[in-house]
Assembly symmetry: C2
Homo-oligomer: 238 residues x 2
């Protein structure tokens, strides 16, 4: 007798970077039917959206939405403003504290939109690829944040309060280091050459090699013992 | 000796309706220096944004931003989709439960964007004009929701976690009935003829008189003993 398992839809926040791509692969591997949600939020590295589209297709997202939400209207971040993205020659030079690439309330905004879509779809699960270990000092990449958002989701929505659908915010990378994420994704067959992590890529998505995100990514590949497939600009190597 | 009180900025979510307008007046009366935040979110009653602009100016908001965020991409609501807005002949006919005009996760999305702006401005306070008494059955108009979002805000932002700015979500209308809101706003000098509450107004902002919002508003003016300044369409009276 064949057991019929109903599809389990899940919304996966997908930037087109290394972490969210791995997160999508995990959602698939866990048996979810994922839809992918990306944002054009005024980021200077909007070329990542082309990666997101390619990744969504390659990893079997059944739908991919790109929503416009112009966070640059509020200002306050090197990722959306004319503030320079910090560059370093080595990963050990990364500063403590919250860097200027922090976008105020970004993951709160993104999860709230993921929640809106999940509610309409009847999905109980929202995946976000945050990780607290190499999190660059962002407050909205910590377990406390994920737990607080999940609590909110379960009082904020008719899905939960009227229809008894307990919502889950799943952050499967939260306790993993970058090398662990890369190792896991590689085992799941992720092609990381499709992903863009750089905060300041050129128009073709080639990485600068010197922003926090490039340096953490390159260190991750090195420590995972996986060849780094990143396309760097001429002369730039992280 | 003159005591110099530093300005206390606050973000006020402003739809241009009766409740949020009263909320802005309260923020001013409490000594805050308000900025107003409105959303073009795909609502069929986008004419309310003209009201919001007029109200923001009349009530002394020092800045007014209208942010585009297309919630109709997700669907699922009579306010953003081609689903008919429910109409009734009398306020007693309003149904129980969450009506089709509920927009999934709307107040979560709006507060998250208010939080983003508050963080950039250095504001500690975000005002939202929800009320739980005549709340039309929306889950994101209840005290539990407001408290959960405030908890989230204080783990989600560098403002709170790095800079020790405890954030407050203020919902001064939450325990008030519609007549109490109208009485309070009238004492604060609010001109309600500037506001639009109708879910299905015509192009000039004239009310249908028969949607849930019109019926609750009209009942509120009647019970408050305040003349109803609403502009209704020809033949429409709530």
């Amino acid at each position: 007798m064949i057991e019929v398992v109903p599809p389990r839809p899940a919304v996966v926040l997908l930037s087109g970077g290394l972490d969210s791509t791995t997160c999508l692969a995990i959602a698939r591997a866990q048996g979810f039917t994922p839809v992918a949600l990306s944002f054009r939020y005024g980021q200077r590295h909007a070329v990542e959206l082309a990666s997101a589209a390619a990744v969504a297709e390659a990893l079997g997202a059944v739908e991919h939405l790109v929503v416009d939400i112009d966070l640059s209207r509020f200002g306050g971040s090197a990722l959306t403003d004319d503030i320079e993205v910090p560059k370093h020659d080595h990963v050990d030079e990364l500063g403590d504290g919250v860097p200027s690439t922090y976008v105020p309330a970004r993951n709160t905004v993104f999860l709230s939109l993921g929640l809106a879509w999940a509610e309409v779809l009847g999905a109980r699960d929202i995946f976000i690829g945050v990780n607290a270990v190499d999190y660059s000092g962002y407050p909205d990449c910590r377990p406390e944040f994920v737990a607080a958002f999940e609590s909110l989701a379960n009082v904020a929505t008719a899905a939960a309060t009227e229809h008894g659908r307990r919502l889950r915010v799943r952050a499967p990378l939260i306790e993993l280091s970058k090398p662990e994420i890369i190792s896991l994704g590689s085992r799941l067959g992720v092609d990381y050459s499709m992903t863009v992590s750089c905060y300041d890529p050129d128009g073709e998505g080639r990485a600068c090699g010197r922003c926090d995100s490039c340096l953490l990514r390159a260190q991750g590949f090195a420590r995972a013992g996986v060849a780094d497939p990143t396309r760097y600009r001429d002369g730039a190597v992280a």
